[in-house]
Amino acid sequence: MKRFVFKNQAIKTKLVLIIMSTSFIAVIAALITYISFDMAGIKNDLKKNALLNAELVGQYSVAPLLFGYSDEARDILSKLYSIPDIQDACLYSALSSEIIASYQKTPDKSFVFPSLQNESIIFSKGYLHIYHVITFKEKYCGAIYLKISAIALKDRFQKNLLVSGIIIFLLFLIVYFISSRLQKLISVPILKLAEVSENLSISQDFSNRLYYSGNDEIGILYQQFDNLMFQISQRQIERDIAEAKLNTTNEQLHIELTERKQREEELKQSEGTIRSLFAAAPVGIGILKDRKQTSINSYWCKILGYTEENLLGKSTRMLYENDNEWNRIGEVLYTDLKGKGISSVESRMIRSDGTLIYVILTIAPIQQDNPSSGYLGIIHDITGRKKAEEALRISEERYRFLFEQNPVPMLIYDRNTFKLLAINEVFINHYGYSSDELLSMSLPDLYPPEEKERIVELAKTLQSRAYVGEWHHIRKDGSVITIIVTSNDLEYMGRECRIAVIIDITDRKKAEEEIQKLNQTLEYNVAERTAQLVSINKELESFSYSISHDLRAPLRAIFGFSQILSRRHRESLNEEGRQYMDYIVEASVRMEQLINDLLNYSRLGRKSLDMRPLSLNKIIDTVYADFKQRLEEIQARFAVDNDLPVISGDESLLRQIFTNLIENAITYRRNDVPLEIGIHSETVSEGYLLKIVDNGIGIPREYWEKIFKIFQRLHSEEAYPGTGIGLATVKKAVSLLNGTVWVDSVVGQGSTFIISLPPNKNQNGKPS
């Protein structure tokens, strides 16, 4: 909330406030005076009235007081109920000053009547207390006390306040209305003056005039203000004229100044350009007077290998090989100059380190019509260019030699017209055309008709890349040759060309074709032979299978009946007969073993393979179960690594392999030591190695391969029983699993059978 500050208020508000506050003070004073007088009168009336009542009751009570009749006195006091303002009353006896009778309008036991006091009227706490002495015939008879409610006084005061409030409010409205009208008489002209002066300070226009009809102080103020404004406007006009003059002068001055600055800037810039050109130009620039170097740039020094101090003021003679050259240059340059105003010449100069450089010298007089002002000299080092030209010449010579003397045919043709532009000596000899014939031919002319179109299509696409391809060419005698051509871009005699190297591979092609033919025949022959062999093998296998199979029936008869005979009719035979019968039974057992082994062996070849991932440990566990009893009987130790791999294989083949190898180890064990069989594995890059190790009798080295062949036995049937088929079966089963098996052994110490199996590549492999 903004604080109300009087001096900041509008003049209108100030006037209204002054008028209203003045009126308000007057009214309040009048009302306070009125209410004071009124209340004093009322109070006086109340006192008089109370005293009258006290006197009246007192006179009635004289007799009871005198005679001490308190009952009579109480009767009299009880009459007081007809005056409603009297609250309490009591009578005091003259003799004892004691209360002899009392009255209460509303009985209140807690109220204690005061003790007798002197004649008095007291206002206290909204009540009027009266102590009045009762006399009869000027004789003191006692006293009376009355407590009268002063409520009438309070009511009257409240009424007065209400009326005053209403009067003040009404007056306030009227005063506000009047004052807000009256204030305009003063405030309007003052406000207008304020407004005009404010406008002036904004518009700065003092030509407006003010008019006021009154002749009071405001009128005088207006008059003075108007005069002031008139004078200001006069001064303003004068000032404007002077200012305009000043501006014009200023502008002219400014234009002159700008032009001068611009000229100075241009001059500075041009000088700067020349200076930087002089300093930074990648050519040697110097100013020469009488062929002495009076000023040189850093490139001049750089080209010649000197510092600036070494050269300044020195004659240019020091830069040349000898006097003759210096003189020649001087003559050529300065004579030439007379006609053209600028001249140049090529020469050689010596650097500070003695090396020669090739240069182009150029001079021009600094002031055309005044040769004594000196010459501007320029040295342009062209040594690099000279060297490059030389290198190019040597390189070109070398390439020309390479081209001309190359032992293989080479040609250059125009990439756009396909015209042959150059051919080497060998080309001419190889193709049989003369040089002139070739130079009138274009590229496709060399190709057989069926390749012409293709070579043109290809040649159009060859650009910015090397190409190697096999094509055919026709020689002059019409013979076709097969070639390998290598080509690449070459700029030759200012034209876009391709250079091609040609290798005749006709002979090689022929040789290759022959080899290929031979190979095909060979492959066919091998395939045919393999098929034949496979078929023969099959036949053999099925033959041996049916033989073994059909052998079983008669064997069963021999075996079965000999067993019956040897059991039931043993007693009817003599010793010899019994002996022979036992031989028959024994032979039958071996025969059965032989047939079984043969059947197993031949069955392998006709078996369909069921390749799947198999745990070798599980397979060996099952195989071991079959041997467990026998191994325990001979107190053999059987140790298998428990981390044998899981391989892809056929379960029955793997079982066959391990069964046969364990059977083998048992058969060929040593009698003096308990048998030990160990099975271990190794993972190698080619797959797995499985090792079946025993401590048996061992195998001499010369039999290491033989033992895997069918019916190959090292020992007599009596010494070591066996059919000579077991290891052949192992070898066959391993090869069906795409593996190999071999043996490593020390006679008298034991053997290790090693099986190498491929890694688990084709888990769903079918037999090949």
């Binding site: 079983r552 008869a557 075996f559 059991r567 039958s588 059965e592 069955r603």
Partner: protein, 147 residues
């Protein structure tokens, strides 16, 4: 079992017949064993045809022992016919052969053989096999009703 189970032996080899029968005798088994010598006879017997039309002499067997390799109608054909004939198909058929061939085994089971046994080479082996047949098929195994 009041009536010992009846067996039909289908076998063309005389010596194998004798060995089989002798093995039953050796094992002290009282089964009534009827023998037929080829596939044709086997089917005739089972269907009660021709000379086998008297069931009192040629009773329906409780088990058939069947050789595979026989001249004319071979064991596979006999098995196929048995298993496709309503009144015969629930009789257990045991293949008794000397062939361990994969193909033979697969085909036999495919067309419904109940068991596949290898003919032993020794007499002791035979005796052992017939004992086990009796043990399993007539003591332990429970046949289909009516067999």
């Amino acid at each position: 079992m009041e009536n010992p189970a009846k067996i039909l032996l289908v076998e063309d080899n005389q010596m194998d017949i004798i060995l089989t029968l002798d093995a039953f005798r050796e094992a002290k088994l009282k089964n009534e064993i009827k023998v037929v010598r080829n596939g044709q006879e086997a089917l005739d017997y089972l269907l009660g045809r021709n000379k086998f039309n008297d069931r009192t002499i040629y009773p329906m067997p409780n088990l058939i022992l069947l050789d595979l390799k026989m001249p004319g109608i071979d064991g596979f054909e006999v098995l196929r016919q048995i298993k496709s004939t309503e009144v015969l198909k629930r009789i257990p058929v045991i293949i008794l052969t000397s062939s361990k061939e994969e193909g033979d085994r697969t085909l036999s089971y495919d067309i419904g053989a109940n068991s596949y046994l290898l003919k032993p080479v020794s007499f002791d082996g035979f005796t052992d096999v017939v004992k086990k047949i009796d043990d399993y098929w007539f003591t332990l195994n429970i046949n289909a009703p009516g067999v």
